[in-house]
Amino acid sequence: MTSIEDYVARIDGTCGKEKDVIVTFKYEKKDEAIRRILEKATMKRSIAGIISELSYKNYSFRMYGSGKVILRGIESKEELNNLLRQLLF
């Protein structure tokens, strides 16, 4: 059975007042993760083919072609895992 860990290499809280969360996908899985997220989330706009501004339910976030997603307003690890599960599976 696939799990979040199959896709995610790192989860980092950012330094600064914003308290964003950056999810970095595993290099070999990043294209698949990006494709799956693009299928689930709504594209608000694509910037220079590098950044996708997306929304999903009440969340809006940015995804980068390098396989990184920057998420705002995440309150807990559980909330983050739920969101990733919904986006990836």
Binding site: C15, E18, D20, I47, A48, I51, R62, S66
Partner: protein, 413 residues
């Protein structure tokens, strides 16, 4: 002037690509890349000389000890310390400041005493003092910062008094790159019988620093920011001050004698000579060897040349950043003669992390966040900032590519 294109040949990592683009490393204020000369010195140590230092009479131990002591000598000469007795090897700037805070501050500062820190300090020059202050009750007073990020010298002079026992200041701000007038601060501190501790993490790697000329009592700096390995740093201290201080850590090497008294049932100890009194346990010998190689490399380049090269890069980059888009902001003073090679910036409407991730996509590495200096960001009313910081191997061509991508980011709004 330096030839950065020739220097780049010494840095293997600069040949790699990141996200399909040639690496542009503009995060030198966080850590520097390492030349072959440093990598090979460490490699050579493990292949030929590895043994514990100051422990044995055999050949390898003597060779390792010789290298370790020579590293102290090279570093002492690099900052113009009087001797190796004034040059203590630690893990880095943070540990060097903690050493002074615990060995001197904990024992010497009481309820009626004060120390002065600036609001532009890295957390490593704030937090140790806040911890010790809560134990002994001394007061910390903070020097104000002007709107352009420069130190408010009037504020400093208004705070200092006969109660002040220590002034702690960065030589160069790790956020704005502003160079503080340490000589002026030392003079005022000493006129008031206070000591001066300088955080040299962002100055020693980038400009000539002469502890005697600047009359510093303590100077802390890190090896990894000056082409050396991580896990090695230096505390310079005036010999008479270090002699009076008690050790920070206890263990092997830092003692001369540990004698058990059967009558009292306890051990009495006498401390080793400087600098070993402050270097307990098996030291980071390979780190010291690597740091020595880094110091030799920088000396060969010439620290005046290093300073000029970084200043020329800042002079090249700063106006281009300001002109590249209305939405790109540069924080702090724009007076490049008062700055090192550090430029904090932001793009309106984007978080610093978005900016850093966008640049990362093009192989350009910059730092984002508070840079461990939250009080300064609060003063600037910034939730965070992006930071480009240059070193000896950076070029104008790299800045051109950085500006091109920055224009793209600025045009996104």
């Amino acid at each position: 002037m330096l030839n950065p294109y020739k220097i780049r040949e010494d840095f293997p990592i600069l040949k790699r690509k990141v996200n399909g683009h040639p690496l542009i490393y503009f995060d030198n204020a966080a850590t520097s890349q390492k030349p072959w000369q440093v990598i090979e010195a460490i490699d050579d140590f493990y292949k030929k000389h590895n043994a514990n230092v100051h422990r044995a009479v055999h050949t390898l131990s003597q060779e390792a000890s010789e290298l370790y002591e020579t590293a102290h000598e090279e570093v002492a000469k690099f900052v113009n310390a009087r001797s190796i007795e004034e040059t203590i090897f630690v893990r880095g700037t943070t540990e060097a400041i903690n050493l002074v805070a615990y060995s001197w501050g904990l024992r010497s500062l009481g309820k009626n005493d004060e120390i002065i820190i600036s609001l532009m300090e890295h957390h490593s020059n704030i937090v140790p003092w806040e911890i010790i202050s809560k134990i002994t009750g001394f007061k910390i007073r903070y020097i104000d910062i002007n709107a352009d990020g420069t130190l408010n010298y009037d504020s400093f002079e208004s705070l200092i008094s006969k109660r002040t026992k220590l002034v702690c200041i960065s030589h160069v701000s790790n956020v704005t790159g502003i160079v503080n007038d340490v000589k002026r601060i030392a003079k005022i501190a000493h006129e008031n019988d206070a000591m001066l501790l300088v955080d040299g993490a962002q100055s020693v790697p980038h400009m000539p620093v002469n502890v005697k000329e600047l009359d510093m009592d303590f100077l802390a700096f890190s090896g990894h920011k000056m082409l050396g390995p991580t896990g090695i740093g230096v505390l310079y201290g005036k010999r008479d001050l270090l002699e009076k201080m008690e050790p920070f850590h206890g263990g092997g090497l830092m003692i001369r004698e540990v004698s058990f008294n059967r009558k009292t049932g306890s051990c009495s100890t006498t401390w080793n000579a400087l600098p070993w009194k402050f270097e307990a346990g098996t030291p980071n010998t390979e780190g010291a060897v690597g740091l020595m190689a880094a110091v030799k490399y920088l000396k060969h380049l010439g620290m005046e040349n290093v300073r000029k090269h970084e200043q020329s890069l800042t002079e090249y980059a700063l106006p281009r950043m300001l002109n590249c888009s209305g939405s790109v902001e540069v924080y702090g003073t724009k007076n490049t003669s008062a700055k090192s090679g550090i430029i904090p910036f932001g793009v309106k409407g984007l978080s610093s992390h978005d900016v850093a991730l966008f640049l990362d996509n093009y192989g350009i590495m910059v730092r984002s966040g508070f840079h461990c200096a939250q009080p300064l960001h609060e003063l600037f009313k910034l939730s965070s900032s992006a930071r480009a910081s240059f070193y000896v191997y950076n070029t104008q061509k790299e800045i051109d590519r950085f500006i091109k991508v920055l224009k793209e980011i600025g045009g996104l709004q």
